[in-house]
Symmetry: C2
Subunit: 200 residues, 2 copies
């Protein structure tokens, strides 16, 4: 019985390390690759290496960018008074896609998690403190996950950074758009109730 030829099994192993790619899809992709147009494969290999080489974290906000400081940090049209705090660099793309925020960002690079040994010193908080001291920031909007660790991180940030000059706010928790009560879990419902708004 023969196994896959070496270059194929090496490729399958390398593909299996990507997020969301199991051994079976890795094999399917590898077999597709060796049978597809050589130019396409070259292009993909080049795109991988180039993206890794050219994309890096912005020295100011931590977002993924080709130029540092990034286009958002440098754009004069963005609101310099509002700073949105996110956990991961990819969260910036998610929020930009929604197109609802016109200020700047700061990437924490994680969230407080005592169980996993992540403390304040592991997050990008020194650079956050420096930005609060040097930029005309009036509001710090916490766009963090709504689980226990997100809550703990939000609490810590509010304690440490809120001041008469800087108001700390957090994204509303409540019912997702286009969804009914029957799809909401208990915690979402009780948070939506707590955060109820008067109708004008």
């Amino acid at each position: 019985m023969t196994r896959l030829p070496d270059p194929l099994s090496i490729l399958v192993a390398a593909l299996s390390r990507l997020p969301g790619i199991g051994p079976r899809s890795a094999e399917r992709i590898a077999l597709h690759v060796v049978q597809s147009d050589a130019a396409h494969v070259e292009h993909l290999a080049h795109a991988l290496a180039e993206a890794r080489r050219r994309i890096r974290p912005c020295e100011r906000c931590g977002a993924l960018t080709e130029t540092s400081p990034c286009a958002i940090c440098e754009a004069p049209a963005r609101d310099a008074h509002a700073l949105c705090i996110v956990e991961r660099a990819t969260d910036v793309f998610t929020l930009e896609k929604a197109g609802a925020f016109r200020g700047r960002y700061h990437v924490l690079g994680g969230r407080l998690s005592p169980v996993n040994g992540v403390g304040p010193e592991d997050l990008r908080l020194d650079s956050l403190a420096e930005r609060l001291a040097t930029e005309p920031i009036r509001e710090m909007i916490l766009a963090l996950g709504t689980d226990v660790e997100g809550d703990a991180t939000a609490h810590y940030l509010a304690q440490r950074f809120s001041s008469p000059q800087v108001q700390v706010t957090r994204l509303a928790a409540g019912l997702p758009a286009g969804s009914g009560l029957d799809f909401a879990d208990d915690l979402t419902l009780s948070r939506a109730l707590e955060g109820r708004q008067p109708l004008r």
Copy 2:
């Protein structure tokens, strides 16, 4: 609003062309790639290019191989009397993994499909005829899909290549192993009934 930086959107587009990778998983993989260890990304890019460069179809049987003729064609221990006909090069790996066949293979490179304009001249039939003329093949085992096109291809091959010297057989159709009657569809059940075997 900013879009993904160019090297990232180029990578997302290239990844989306792979089988089973939609735009969302392509984006997830791309964002993972630009944030992971540079050596891992280099390794993946290299594995892609190397697999494409080093793996090609065996000149004799059409299976994917580094050396041509492939290891299976060259192995003296394989039964030279039995030739297994498959549609695609990847079917060889599937059958080898099962470990149930000890003969050699011939890859058709497709199956007859008048609707899609695939005729006998598009399959690797000249090389098959040559092998039947020069190798001591006594049985040609058709391991084709069990749909209409698989049936048509099997019928055509049996008509054209069966002879007093070469018996043409086809893989049994019936109930899959480890499954009950309740999971079998009507066609599988009627084929299993047609192909019923006497118990010895």
